[in-house]
């Protein structure tokens, strides 16, 4: 059985030096990982204890990156509320987020002016 005490210390942001609930639930991350089909179609069999923890941080960074880009489009539309169309358009405008294009393509608003050449800008 895992040592819950140590993990909870990690979860509360101890490793990153931040306080406050930045973390994401490891069990849920692990479930999502296990449902990922590999190239051969097999389920992911075994996951080390640290992999969901890495993803907890990776997802945080990913969400932050996509949110920042979405917000730029929100501002372009002279709005203050981020809508799903902003998120969809930010995905389409960013090459490395190509894997999300089909997921969001129904939500994209063609009237939003797409910002190009934003790749590699990590404010």
């Amino acid at each position: 059985m895992r040592q819950a005490g140590i993990y909870s210390g990690i979860l509360s942001g101890g490793i990153s030096g931040k306080t406050g609930p930045h973390s994401l639930p490891l069990a849920r991350i692990k479930k999502i990982m296990k449902k990922s089909g590999g190239g051969g179609g097999d389920d992911v069999k075994m996951i080390s204890g640290e992999a969901p923890i890495v993803f907890s941080k990776a997802c945080e960074l990913f969400i932050q990156e996509l949110t920042k880009r979405s917000w730029m489009l929100t501002l372009q539309g002279k709005r203050r509320i981020v809508h799903k169309e902003d998120v969809a358009s930010a995905v389409i405008a960013t090459d490395v987020f190509d894997f999300l294009v089909t997921l969001v393509s129904d939500d994209a608003d063609p009237t939003i002016n797409i910002l190009h050449h934003q790749n590699g800008n990590t404010s």
């Binding site: 639930p25 590999g38 997802c59 949110t67």
Partner: protein
């Protein structure tokens, strides 16, 4: 709380009622909207607001992100005949998929984690035939806080 979620998993308290399965599966494949919304809110200016649909879209994107990167990491393990996907594989997959701006900070994060915690190996209790593979490099137990 995260602890509760983990403890439920450990004591096998996952919902098994068939009539709840539809709802449970939907929740299981997404990260909690409260956590996602909080991360979004914290990176934006105070005057910014986020629609519920935007949070839901972000939930979907985050899950797809996990699946996408895990698939790549899992493929690498399969090719190298390892059964356990570890933190290094995740970092490698991020780089391989062009998400370099995430890979760098994560390697440092993982390194510090290992310094503090050491290597606990696989979560699964199944027979680990490649436990040695997860023990990569020196794991020096230094005091946390550098």
């Amino acid at each position: 709380m995260d602890l509760d979620g983990n403890m439920k998993l450990n004591i096998g308290a996952e919902a098994s009622n068939s009539h709840e399965e539809g709802i449970t599966k939907e929740q299981d494949r997404l990260l909690p909207i409260a956590n996602v919304g909080r991360i979004m809110k914290e990176i934006l200016p105070p005057n910014a607001k986020i629609s519920k649909e935007a949070k839901e879209t972000m939930q979907e994107c985050a899950s797809e992100f996990i699946s996408f990167v895990t698939s790549e990491a899992s493929d690498k393990c399969r090719k190298e005949r390892r059964k356990t996907v570890n933190g290094n594989d995740v970092c490698w997959a991020l780089g391989a998929l062009g998400l370099d701006n995430l890979a760098g900070p994560l390697r440092r994060y993982l390194h510090r984690y290992r310094e503090v915690e050491g290597d606990h190996g696989a979560i699964n209790s199944n027979h680990q035939d490649d436990h040695k593979a997860t023990n990569s490099g020196a794991i020096a137990k230094t005091s946390f806080g550098q």
